[in-house]
Structure formats: structure tokens, C-alpha cells
């Protein structure tokens, strides 16, 4: 009798656990998925960049991360754009400024890029942290600056992509 009761209890426990974990077993290995949002591009006659932020997670010495940013020339004429790494003016809460040697870790597929009128180009940005390098912090930030060099006058605009790095 005791054996039967014990067996029934064990079965009930097993069924309960299975029921609770039903969602997990249908998708046992969580897979990171990118969020895709279909948002409207700004007007053709406006210079823009995309995205505003690039987030790199689990980065470590010896690793490489890359992302293609998009730059659009909003002028109705050809223009040279300056696309370069730069130290942020300010960083997000909890993030550190980059150390001096970070500039040597960044590669941009074209720093001085000539755009035709209303042309949009993809620019590959990659960061490779040397194996013997020290990270500026657990979380740190740098910017990729995009400036339309054809701007006249003494007041010019700049748009930057924020790169937010979190170390492993």
C-alpha cells in the first residue's frame, strides 16, 4: 500500500513539473533575436545616419565586433563626408570614456567618403581589441562621427552613432 502511494506521488510530481516546464521544452534553447522595426526613412533631402546606437555585448580582449552603419547624403549635389572615430562628449550612465588606445582598435571602411546627390551608402565599422589590451571599463562607449564636409558657414551639424560596449 505504501509503495503504491509513493508511486502515485512521484507520478503526480513528475506530471506537475512537466506541465510547468511545457513552455521551455517547446523552445529549450533560447536564441537571441534581433528586433526588426519597419520605420519610415527621413525625407530624401535630409542627411541622416542609421542606427543611432550599436550595442556590443560579451566583448573581450582578442575579440572583433563589426556593424554596418548607413549614411545618407541629403544634398542635391555631391558631397564629401568625414566619417571617423571620436571620443564621446558625454557617455551613458554607468559607461566609461574610451582610453587613448581605443582609436587604434577601430577600422572604418572609408573615412573620407564621396557621396553623389541623395546617395545612401553602407559603411562597415569594426572594432578589434588586442589580446593584451585592457578595456576602459566593464561598460564603455565611443562614437562614430559623420560630418558633411560640404557644409558652409561657421556652424555645422554632426551626427554620431553611439557604440555601447559591455565586456564579458
Amino acid at each position: 500500500m505504501k509503495v503504491k502511494v509513493l508511486a502515485i506521488v512521484m507520478l503526480v510530481v513528475g506530471i506537475l513539473i512537466t506541465g510547468c516546464g511545457g513552455t521551455n521544452t517547446s523552445n529549450p534553447t533560447p536564441t537571441p533575436t534581433a528586433t526588426v522595426e519597419y520605420i519610415q526613412e527621413p525625407p530624401q533631402d535630409v542627411t541622416w545616419i542609421n542606427p543611432g546606437k550599436v550595442q556590443v555585448e560579451n566583448f573581450y580582449a582578442g575579440a572583433t565586433a563589426e556593424y554596418t552603419i548607413t549614411v545618407h547624403n541629403g544634398n542635391d549635389y555631391s558631397a564629401k563626408f568625414i566619417i571617423k572615430y571620436r571620443i564621446p562628449d558625454h557617455v551613458g550612465e554607468g559607461y566609461s570614456f574610451p582610453s587613448d588606445d581605443v582609436s587604434n582598435w577601430i577600422t572604418i571602411s572609408g573615412n573620407d567618403v564621396n557621396f553623389n546627390a541623395y546617395e545612401t551608402k553602407d559603411i562597415l565599422v569594426s572594432i578589434t581589441m588586442p589580446e593584451d589590451a585592457t578595456a576602459p571599463g566593464k561598460k564603455w562607449e565611443f562614437w562614430i562621427s559623420v560630418i558633411d564636409d560640404s557644409q558652409g558657414g561657421s556652424i555645422r551639424t554632426e551626427q554620431c552613432v553611439r557604440w555601447l560596449i559591455t565586456m564579458e
Binding site: 508511486a7 512521484m10 521551455n24 521544452t25 555585448e57 558652409g152 555645422r156 551626427q159
Partner: protein
């Protein structure tokens, strides 16, 4: 007894089936560098693109000339007229337009050193003038003046406006010229950069 053993095997198998994959997933994700860029557009325009110091209001003293040890504002109401304690749109000469950016923006103003003259002024980066350096600041509509203004450095200025989502924003500049006289009368120019980043 046989039933007991069968039940235990079934239960343990079910538990293992649940816990096993979770453990594997944790091990895998800790090894991978992930890079994520959610589509988001940053797009601004600004007008006008020039500022002639002491050249906005013809009734200003010494209109068209920059004097030493003087504070100038990009205020259409008067080049030496400070903004109100809560800055009004009419006291700002520049308009930055949010050209359909899809995310809230932060706006930062940096003010470079002057060039074109043997005694061109450098930025003190403190907001205040010295004997040979100028001080600069930025302000915008609805900002508390003077407590809210932001020092405009050569680089590394604090954001003038954060989490900006409106269609446009009026903003302005302040410059305190050097306190010692210039040795030349040559014109000098500097570049101001208005930077937009995703908030």
C-alpha cells in the same frame, strides 16, 4: 516496487529534459559576442549656419565689431542682451530641426578655437574669459538662464538638450571675449559644431 522504479525513472527523465537545455544555453551565450543595432534614424538640420558676433542687431553698441572683455549673445533682440530667466524662442538665433528622426535625441554644442589672426582666441573650456582666452556657452528655449546654460568647450561639452523629441528647437550661443586687448585687428573665425546623438 517495479511501478515505483518506473515512476522514478519517468520523473527524473522529465526533470532532466527540462533542466538540460537551459544549462547548455547558458554555456553557449557566455562565449558569443553579440552586436545589435536597432534601426533608428538620426537626422537634423540647422539654420542659419553662420553667426557674426555682434552682428545681429544694428542697434547694438559697436555693431559689427567684437570688443574685448564683452559678453555677446546670439540674441536677435540685442547682441549684448542676455536671455530671460526662462529663455524665450525670440531670444535664440538658431533653429535646429528634427528631420524625422525616429528616436529621441541629445544635442551637444562644441565651440572650436579661433584662427585667422596672430592673436586668435582659444577656448578656455570653462565658460569664462581669461586674458587671452574666450569663454562660451549654449542655451535653448525654455532653459533656465543663467543656471541652465551649458559650457561650450572645444570638445566634451555637456548636452545642451537631452531626450529631445519636438519638431524644432530654438537655441543660441554666448561668448565672453578675452579680457586683454588684441594686438592685431585681423578678423578671426571659429567653427561651432552641433552634434546629435540618440538619447
Amino acid at each position: 516496487m517495479k511501478k515505483l522504479i518506473t515512476s522514478m525513472v519517468v520523473s527524473l527523465s522529465l526533470i532532466a529534459g527540462i533542466l538540460g537545455p537551459v544549462g547548455i544555453a547558458s554555456a553557449l551565450t557566455s562565449q558569443n559576442v553579440t552586436v545589435t543595432g536597432t534601426p533608428s534614424y538620426v537626422a537634423i538640420t540647422n539654420t542659419p549656419s553662420t553667426w557674426t558676433i555682434n552682428g545681429l542687431n544694428a542697434s547694438s553698441p559697436s555693431y559689427g565689431y567684437m570688443l574685448v572683455n564683452t559678453t555677446y549673445y546670439s540674441n536677435p533682440l540685442g547682441d549684448t542682451t542676455s536671455p530671460s530667466t526662462t529663455v524665450l524662442a525670440g531670444e535664440c538665433n538658431f533653429t535646429v530641426t528634427n528631420a524625422s528622426s525616429s528616436v529621441p535625441l541629445d544635442l551637444t554644442v562644441n565651440f572650436g578655437n579661433f584662427s585667422g589672426s596672430a592673436d586668435a582666441m582659444n577656448n578656455s573650456d570653462s565658460g569664462s574669459a581669461t586674458a587671452t582666452e574666450f569663454g562660451a556657452s549654449s542655451y535653448c528655449t525654455d532653459m533656465a538662464y543663467p543656471t541652465g546654460i551649458k559650457t561650450a568647450k572645444v570638445t566634451g561639452s555637456d548636452a545642451m538638450k537631452t531626450n529631445w523629441t519636438t519638431a524644432s528647437l530654438k537655441w543660441g550661443l554666448i561668448i565672453e571675449t578675452r579680457t586683454d586687448a588684441w594686438t592685431t585687428g585681423d578678423a578671426q573665425t571659429a567653427t561651432v559644431t552641433l552634434t546629435a546623438t540618440a538619447h
